[in-house]
Subunit: 272 residues, 3 copies
C-alpha cells in the first residue's frame, strides 16, 4: 500500500458489468456530478462479464493499493437488483466501497485484514445498509440501483455525508468463499483467477507462497522455475504486478497456448 | 427530471459512433480542453453503430434527465459530414445540444415537449446554425466536423459564449419520424428500439400506456403480466429504468432467447 | 498546430495496449491522481493491438496538434518491459512524452521537426532516462512499468518537477524507421498505415504530395481524382482529417470492399 495522503479532492472509481455501448454508466456519472460536481471519476472497467461478481472482485483487489485512502470505489455487478439483497456502503482501512451486498467486496476486505478469518465478521471496517431514502433518487427503480441508489450514495459520501447517515450499521456482509489455494505436503493446488487482455493467466497463488525453484504445472505445460519478466523465456511463470503467480507467453497468448481458462487448476511443487 | 441545480462547473457529454480504438474522440477532447480547460467531460457512448442515428438518439433520450440542466450534450453521428446538412446547437428546457442536423436530437426534444406535435416546429427551445467561423477551428476539414466545428462550439458555449453568437437562428430542424407505437382497439403495436449489453430488449412502448395485467407478444414468447424486477420470473416483461416496456431473461439474454432485434414488433393486449 | 495557450491546468493523455476490460489503466490513473490530484486525464486509446507500436505511434501523431503545448502524452505499448530498453521522457516543441524507448514517439517527433533527418539525433527536443528512483513507485515490478515508472514520471512532471530531475539526459532515442512513401518518376508508392473504425484506410501519403487529378491504385480499385468528402462518390480517395490520403466507401467499409489492410501498397500517379 502506498502512503498516499488523503487528497481532499475526492475520487470515485466505477466498476460495472454495464459495458460501454449503452448509456447506463453515463447515467450514474450524471447523478454523481449533479450531487458532487467536482468529484474525479475514474473508470476501472465496465467490461466485466454480465453478472461476473468474481471478476469484478478481482479487479477491485488489484486497484485499491494504488488509490488514495479516501477514494470511494463504486461497484455494480448486481444480478439480484430489485430482490432482497442489501445495498451497502463500507468504510475500510484503505478506501470506501459502495455497491450490492453480494460478495463483491469480500476479496478486497480480506486482503485489507478487515474480516476476521474465524468468525467471518468485520473487524476493521464499518458497514451500513443504504436505507435512508434521503440519499437515494426519488422513486428508485427496481432494475437500476446503480443509478438510483449506489451513485447517489457514493456522491453524498464524497460530499461529506457521514457513513452513519446513509442507514443502519451492519455487522455481517455476504462473503463469497475466498479463492484460496489448497496446500498439502508442500504441493500448492491453486486456480486460474483471471485471463487478461494479453492472454496472461493470473492465479490465486500468492508470490509469498513460492520458494526455491518451483515446478509449475498449468494447462498442457510444465514450467521449471520463475522468470523475472515476460521476455526472459518463451513460456514464463512469474509473480505478476498484483503479487500473484501468473503464466505468460512471450509476445503471445498464454491462455490459448497452454489451454487455460478461469477456474483451471495450477499445481506448484517445490524442487530441492 | 431531477431538480438539479445549475452547477457552474460545466459538464459536456459526448456521444459518437467513433469507437474507442481510434483517436477521434481524444482529438475532440483536446480541442474542448484547449478552449475550456475546466470542462468536465463525460462519455455517454462511442460504440454507437457506424451511422446509427436512431441508436444515438435513444441514448440521448435515456440520459438527459440525470444531468444538470446546463449540461451540454455533444453528439456526432454524422453520415452527412461535409455535405449540405447543417451543423446546429439547441438550447432546450433541460440541456443544450450540439451536433449535426440529422434527427439526432428529435427524440429528446419531443420528450421535453420542445417540439409542437402539430406543426413540428420548436416551441420551447432555441436553435442556431453553427455558421460563425470565429467559433470553429481554422480551415475546418470536410470529414471531421466533430473536431473542427462541434467540439469548439460546445466548448465555447461552456465558456459562456451566448448561443446567438454561434450563428443565425433556425426555426425548423430535421426531425426523424418518432418511434411511436400504434394503438388500435386497445391493442398496442410497438417495436424493439434497443438491445442492451445484457440482451434486454427495450421497446418504444411507454410504461404509462400499460394497464391491468397485459399480455405481451414478443418474438417467440407470450408473457402474461408485468414483473417488478429481473429475478421474479424466467422471462420477464417489465417497465425498465428509462420508463419503457422491456423484455428480459433471468441471468440470460432475452434478445437471443426470444429471437428479438431492433425494429421487431411487440404487441400488448390488455387482459380483463 | 493550433495556437493553444499553455493552460496551467495540466492534461495527461493515455495511450496503451492494455484494453478496457482489465484494471491496468485504472491503476495508472490512481497513481497519477495520488501524485497530482487535479490532473485532467484524457484517454486516447487503450485498444491498440497488443504490442502495436506502429499503431500507437500513428495515434500519437494524429492527436498532438489538438492538445495544448504543455500536455503530457503518456504512452505504454511496451513489449520489452523489464528488459534493458530504456524508460524515457521527452520535451518536444509541442507536448511532453513519457513511455518506453522503443520507437513509439519517433513519428510525432519527426512531424514536429525534432529529429535531424540526416544524423537522426534530437535537435529541438530534450530527452532523459527515467532513472531517478525518487520519481518511481517503491520496488517497481518488472512487468508493469506503466504503473510503477511511467505514471509516476508523468504525474511528477505535471506537478512541476523539472525534466532534468527525472534522470540523465539522452541524445539518441531508438527511432523506428519512418513510414514514408517512395517517390520515383512522379509515381508515389505508399502504404496503408491504419484502418479506422469505419473501415477507412489511411495511408502514409501526405496530402501535400498530391497534385492535379491523381489516379490512385489501392487494393482492387483504381480511383480517378480526389473527393472532398465521404458522400461525393461511392468509392472516394480524399485527404483525411490528419492530412493523409485515405480511401473510403460511402456508408460502407473501404478496407473490406477494396481488400485493404495495414501495410498494403497504394500507388498514386499524376494524370496530365
Amino acid at each position: 500500500v502506498l502512503a498516499w495522503p488523503v487528497t481532499g479532492k475526492c475520487i470515485i472509481t466505477l466498476t460495472t458489468d454495464f459495458g460501454l455501448r449503452d448509456a447506463y454508466v453515463a447515467c450514474m456519472k450524471g447523478v454523481i456530478l449533479g450531487i458532487k460536481p467536482d468529484a474525479t471519476l475514474v473508470d476501472v472497467s465496465h467490461q466485466v462479464a454480465p453478472q461476473g461478481i468474481d471478476e469484478a472482485s478481482y479487479l477491485l483487489e488489484s486497484i485499491w493499493p494504488y488509490f488514495p485512502s479516501d477514494t470511494i470505489h463504486l461497484a455494480v455487478v448486481d444480478p439480484g437488483v430489485g430482490t432482497t439483497r442489501k445495498a451497502i456502503a463500507v468504510t475500510a482501512p484503505h478506501g470506501r466501497f459502495v455497491g450490492p451486498d453480494n460478495g463483491l467486496f469480500a476479496a478486497v476486505l480480506r486482503r485489507q485484514g478487515a474480516i476476521d478469518p474465524k468468525s467471518g465478521r468485520l473487524v476493521a471496517a464499518t458497514a451500513v445498509e443504504l436505507a435512508n431514502p434521503r440519499y437515494r433518487l426519488p422513486n428508485p427503480s427496481s432494475t437500476f440501483h446503480g443509478r438510483d441508489i449506489f451513485a447517489p450514495a457514493a456522491a453524498h459520501l464524497a460530499a461529506g455525508v457521514p457513513l452513519s447517515e446513509l442507514g443502519p450499521s451492519l455487522s455481517d456482509l455476504l462473503l463469497s468463499p475466498a479463492s484460496e489455494p489448497h496446500i498439502a505436503d508442500g504441493v500448492i493446488h491453486g486456480r486460474v483467477r483471471h485471463i487478461d487482455r494479453f492472454g496472461n493467466a493470473i492465479t490465486d497463488i500468492s508470490g509469498d507462497a513460492l520458494s526455491g525453484a518451483p515446478r509449475i504445472q498449468a494447462g498442457n505445460a510444465v514450467i521449471e522455475g520463475l522468470s523475472r519478466d515476460f521476455q526472459e523465456r518463451e513460456i514464463s511463470a512469474l509473480v505478476g504486478s498484483t503479487g500473484y503467480l501468473e503464466l505468460a507467453v512471450r509476445n503471445g497468448n498464454a491462455a490459448e497456448t497452454l489451454h487455460l481458462g478461469p477456474g483451471d487448476e495450477v499445481i506448484v511443487r517445490s524442487v530441492q
